[in-house]
Structures are given as C-alpha cells and as structure tokens.
Symmetry: C2
Subunit: 133 residues, 2 copies
DNA sequence: CTAAGCCTTACAGCAACAGGAAGGTCAAGA
DNA sequence: TCTTGACCTTCCTGTTGCTGTAAGGCTTAG
C-alpha cells in the first residue's frame, strides 16, 4: 500500500512517516517502479507501535529503544519494565514541577485586584528582584 | 555595567539577554565606545521581570504582553489578571493531560511480569492496532 | 609581549514535526 | 487525447527558547 493508506491505518500522518524514515527510526520501505513507497503489514505494525508509544509520552529516542525490544524476540520483559518505570518517574517529576507552577499562578490570580486600577500585585511580584536564596 | 554583570544581577545568562534583544523582547541598550552593551537599573529591572515571568511558565509572547503592562502606568490590573488566569488554565490543562498519561503508564508498569521472559504485556499493549473509537 | 578574561557577531543545532514549493504520476471523465 | 484532481516525490523553512561554537576584538595584569 502507498503512504497515505499506511498513514490512515497507523494513525500517523504521511509527513510523520517520512520523517521517521529520515531519522532512521523505521527502515526504508520498498519502492514501487514509480518511486512510491510501498508498505506491508509488518511496517504498519511498527508504525502503530510507534504511534502508541508516542501517545504514552515516550520521546523518539525512547521509542527507538522500545521498537528494538518490540522487534527482538530475545528481549527480557524486565528491560521493558525498566524503560517504562523510568518514563513514569519522568512524568511524575514533570507533574510535580507543573503543580508547583500552578500554585504560584493561583496565588497571583487570587492576589490581584482585577479592576480598572493600575495597581497590580501580580506586576509587583513579577518585578521582585532576584532572590539570593 | 557590562552584560556579564547584568546577567549576574538578573539571573539570566548573557546569551539569553542577547537573545531577548535579538527578538525585540527588550530594547537595545546603549553601547560604550568600544561597542560593549551598557545596562542601567531600569534594564536590570526589566530583565528580572522577564526571568520571573519565564519561571512562572509564561511563553516569550506572553512575556512580551506582560512586560508591556509592566512598563505601562496606564494599565488596568484586570488585563494582567486575565493573562494570568489564562495561563493558569493552560497549566491546568497540561497537568490533566500528563495525569492521564501517568495513569496509562502506571497501568503498564503494574501489568508487566518484569522478569527474564520475552513475554511482555507492555509490548503487547503498545503493539495494539489503532482503535476505531 | 603575551595570556586570560572579557566582549562582539554569526551560524549550527536541539525536538518533533508541519507547511509549502516545485515537480512527477496515475486514473477517470469529456 | 487532453485535462483535471488526487496522489506521490524531494527539499527548504518555520516552530520554541535558547545553548554551543567559531572567529575575532578589547582590556588588564604579569
């Protein structure tokens, strides 16, 4: 099948598929006589795998590792488990960071007069000099 | 003062300060006879303001607006309030998204045998075809 | 005189694509 | 047969917010 059908089946865009090929994330597919890319079932499976992994938040490099494990029948599930728990920690850290930011913002929102005056606690706080902490 | 002292006082890097100038986020400072940038107190205040705003998660474009309000004595605090509540919603949305991802990952981690076997529920789930939902 | 430590500009690169230009190909209809 | 539209190809640019590096000039101490 051509790239647009591969895109439809995998849920990725044709652009993305070509991009994945350009960075050697997937192997180059066969080409038809006219130069068009031809994809088979195994290709589609890899593309679906990648779409899922990306949706789970894995970076391209992490996807590279996961795809390697996916294609390797000699893998140990412990390796996969390790990758995924690392990712989980990563996401947790990110959430904690955002939660902190969220609290700071909520404080600002609560402190602002929200009226027609020029006085603004938010501006004042943002203007605070660098703390020596 | 030269750029490196401005950097120290503001908490930004010299690179970042030059970058902010290049994208017209801050106005170009005066220059000494030798071509070096010279910064004054008002410049430092703007730079500190920007560092704080960035730490609060505001994008460069949002910082542009905030800085405009900061420098405008005719501002209405309601405008500032609006910008910050929008940002708060943005961050909340991001957190919700990450929380969803986190749950999915936690599920995977829990379901994996985590042993020397090649069988791996994680791989199986990631390999699932595109759902028609 | 030279070496360190500032400063300058300008270009390349990161992630993960999306958009668009310029052109080749293919199938269907008038 | 010609044309139209929908495919396909490659290549280049832009996104965000910088950081790194190169290649060179200024300044001050030894």
């Amino acid at each position: 099948m051509n790239i647009s059908e591969a895109a439809k089946l995998s849920g990725l865009s044709a652009k993305t598929i070509r991009y994945y090929e350009s960075i050697d994330l997937i192997s180059p597919p066969r080409r038809a006589a006219n130069g068009y890319r031809r994809y088979g079932e195994a290709d589609i499976a890899s593309l679906c795998f990648l779409r899922q992994a990306r949706q789970f938040g894995f970076s391209i490099d992490q996807c590279r590792l996961l795809l390697g494990l996916y294609k390797n029948p000699q893998r140990r599930s412990a390796e996969v488990h390790q990758l995924v728990s690392d990712k989980l920690e990563e996401v947790d850290a990110h959430i904690r960071e955002l939660a902190d930011t969220r609290e700071l913002l909520a404080n600002l929102v609560g402190a602002c007069a929200n009226d027609e005056d020029a006085d603004c606690v938010i501006i004042d706080r943002l203007a605070g000099q660098k703390e020596q902490a």
